[in-house]
């Protein structure tokens, strides 16, 4: 089955194909050039669905924008769609443009806030343009992320709670966590799960030129495809791992991968309209962060250990996967069972495990791999 084609509608004429997953755009002087374009996006079952997406110069969809706290960030947005759009990052008021006409451009310039996980979106006609696909990840790395005791974290020290600091201080030290500290700025230790859902019917109505009242979207939303970083099911994890694999993007940015004792951050966000319940096997996660009503990042004062956690629409919630020895294995390391240990993560509200009304489990699922013991 040929499922890989992902055609940008604007490029169909010249036959150029692009990749479906999110690209990564490491900051180069904090300037990003984004376009908004209409595309025909191929779903995991081969069905094409009209979508709207952000692109950058790499021709790959929904670039992951990464900056450092206090950087002066410039984002130029060009609207190549036939409808007006806008731009915004909840939690960063200065990063917003109310409307960009078809063919027009706009620029936002702002100082990167404290470290954390943010989402850029088209907030116009909310939630319509967002659920048609106009979303992406905006990641801010802290300027000073270490705890007072010197342990690296993904968060600015000024925002640390004693509990988050205690957890990162315990890594590599506490008897539960032999192995490493969390390693900053390493895409193998910093994963992104940006959830979304696709309703082909609403997409087709927009494509046909229908004006859809935004207030009618939630009551009529019936998703048929469920994604992590724009990918579903089989496509959400690399199935061949070698030196050429790029961990910064695509399925490589989704699948946590490492040895026992290599704790990994997983940035969870939900761009869609379904409340998901991501559930992980093999280890429990520690909940690290939430957002305030104004969209700013807040660190938790109790880092609950969970194997399932709610992700409501627009939620942004970081978790730490400790890469601990699976606590209930009888023989560890196993003698007769080969590595890697492979454990799934899937939404437990299992309608999300389908594609096109069936095809279990070609929906919001991936897995993580523990390649060896300490």
């Amino acid at each position: 089955m040929d499922r890989r084609k992902f055609l940008k509608a604007s490029a169909v004429a010249v036959g150029a194909a692009a990749l479906p997953a999110m690209a990564t755009a490491q900051t180069t002087g904090g300037t990003f050039d984004l376009t908004i374009e209409a595309v025909d996006s191929e779903m995991i079952d081969g069905v094409f669905v009209f979508s709207l997406m952000f692109f950058d110069r790499s021709e790959e969809g929904r670039p992951i924008l990464e900056v450092t706290e206090a950087d002066i960030v410039t984002i130029n947005v060009t609207n190549l769609d036939t409808r007006p759009h806008g731009f915004g990052i909840p939690g960063i008021p200065a990063a917003s443009v109310a409307s960009i006409p078809p063919g027009g451009s706009a620029t936002v310039r702002f100082t990167a806030p404290v470290g954390g996980t943010y989402m850029y979106i088209d907030p116009t006609l909310a939630p319509l343009n967002r659920i048609l696909g106009l979303y992406g990840a905006f990641i801010v790395h802290p300027k000073l992320g270490t705890t007072a005791a010197g342990s690296p974290t993904p968060y600015s020290r000024s925002t640390h709670t004693p509990q988050v600091a205690a957890l990162f201080n315990a890594l590599g030290v506490h008897k539960r966590f032999p192995g490493n500290k969390w390693v900053p700025r390493d895409v193998e230790r910093d994963k992104l799960w940006l959830f979304s859902q696709v309703d082909p019917l609403i997409a087709a109505r927009v494509d046909a030129g229908e004006v859809i009242p935004p207030a009618s979207v939630v009551p009529s939303f019936l998703p048929r495809y469920f994604m992590i970083n724009g990918l579903s099911g089989y496509d959400t994890a690399p199935h061949k791992i070698d030196a050429s694999l790029d961990w910064s993007k695509g399925s490589g940015r989704i699948m946590p991968h490492g040895r026992e004792g290599q704790p990994t951050l997983i940035r969870n966000m939900n761009a869609g309209l379904c409340t998901h319940s991501p559930h992980i096997h093999g280890n429990h996660i520690f909940k690290l962060s939430d957002t305030r009503a104004d969209g700013t990042v807040v660190l938790n004062t109790s880092c609950y250990e969970l194997d399932a956690w709610p992700m409501e629409p627009m939620a942004r919630r970081d978790v730490l996967l400790p890469f601990e020895k699976p606590g209930d294995a009888v023989v560890w390391p196993p003698k007769e069972e080969p590595f890697p240990m492979r454990y799934v993560m899937h939404c437990h509200t299992e309608m999300s495990q389908t594609a096109g009304g069936g095809n279990y489990p070609q929906g919001m699922v991936t897995h993580w791999e523990m390649t060896g013991p300490l």
Binding site: A308, V330, E337, G358
Partner: protein, 342 residues
């Protein structure tokens, strides 16, 4: 026993679009790796014959696991939810699945075993005939077990049961060093869409649109009791004497966002089988009386309640739709029960 051939499983076999989805790896009598002598044996078979009478005079077919080793006829009979598994922290558990018909798995949800003992077909294998899952629960708390084949359907059809791990001290203590309790009530909340209960075992797996993205529940249950009887049924109602400590173990086995409101103040001491407050990065969570809290699918909460007066106190569960947040079935998706302190 045969030798393990890992290449025929998701462990060393080639994972393709097909083995990932439509044709997952399946095995019969696969030898449990690193098998050691167990402290406790449990066994589960499959049953697809149970019809539950519904409040509106219909019958709904459920699938379940049965316990062939139960000492009584009633214990061996099909029931919904499937029979409780109860272990002691540190015991080596052998949990054997013999589906007898078709392929299924058992995933012991919240347990952290090795991959082949985790019960997920596309990374290991589904069980055609007899496999013994081996693990040693290291934390006391509330868990559950369920089938992980065509899970959207099999879990909804009822292929799940609760699982409790007691600390070495045994029942009466939530976890070592944690709170003690006198009255224990496990509450498993579930919803059912009757349309789903007419589907086949493999419905949709190989490309057919069977509408498993649409879930419109019409029935709402606690511990297998439909919501027209949950305020009186002794399987649900919580009875305690003044001075006793109550432990409520909550499991959201529905496909709704579950909103719980308890008419008494309590404290949540563990979530998803993990104790709170035993390490410096977490603490128990106070739950003021009558303040709603939500749980997404598969979450568990262990709540300690110490009533300070006699009376009858309401407990309400509202099943909320995952997109619009409204109470399911036009507002009827509610389970009510009571805590009676005498």
């Amino acid at each position: 026993m045969q030798a393990a051939d890992w290449t025929k499983t998701g462990v060393k076999g080639e994972v393709t679009y097909s083995t990932f989805g439509c044709n997952p790896f399946q095995e019969s009598n696969f030898p449990t790796p690193d098998r050691v002598a167990p402290d406790v044996n449990v066994e589960r078979h499959m049953d697809v014959s149970l019809d539950l009478p519904t409040p509106d005079g219909q019958k709904i077919r459920v699938w379940t696991f049965t316990d062939p080793l139960a000492p009584t006829v009633a214990g061996r009979a099909p029931m919904h939810p499937a029979p409780l598994m109860r272990f002691r922290e540190g015991q080596i558990v052998h949990s054997t699945l013999d589906p007898k018909k078709n392929a299924h798995t058992i995933h012991h949800h919240g347990i952290e075993p090795t991959t082949v003992n985790d019960g997920v077909g596309h990374v290991s294998f589904e069980v055609n005939a007899r496999y013994t899952y081996q693990f040693r629960p290291s934390r006391a708390g509330t868990f559950f077990y369920h089938c992980h084949r065509n899970t959207a359907l099999h879990f909804e059809m009822g292929m799940f049961g609760p699982m409790i791990v007691d600390p070495p001290e045994g029942p009466g203590t939530l976890f070592s060093g944690g709170p003690k309790y006198d009255v224990e009530r496990l509450l498993v909340l579930d919803d059912m869409d009757p349309r789903w209960h007419t589907l086949e075992h493999d419905a949709g797996m190989c490309g057919l649109d069977v509408g498993l993205n649409r879930f419109d529940p019409k029935y709402f249950l606690a511990n297998g009791v439909f919501n027209n009887r949950t305020t009186t049924d002794p399987r649900v109602v919580i009875n305690a004497k003044l001075g006793q400590t109550i432990l409520i173990r909550l499991l959201n086995a529905s496909y709704s966002v579950l909103e719980t409101t308890i008419g008494l103040p309590g404290v949540c001491h563990s979530m998803d089988g993990c104790s709170l407050g035993t390490e410096p990065w977490s603490s128990p969570l106070p739950l003021p009386a009558n303040r709603p809290f939500t749980m997404s699918t598969a979450q568990r909460r262990d709540i300690i309640i110490r009533p300070t007066a006699r009376g009858t106190f309401p407990v309400r569960f509202r099943f909320l739709h995952w997109v619009n947040g409204k109470v399911q079935d036009n507002g009827r998706g509610i389970v009510d029960t009571r805590i009676i302190v005498s």
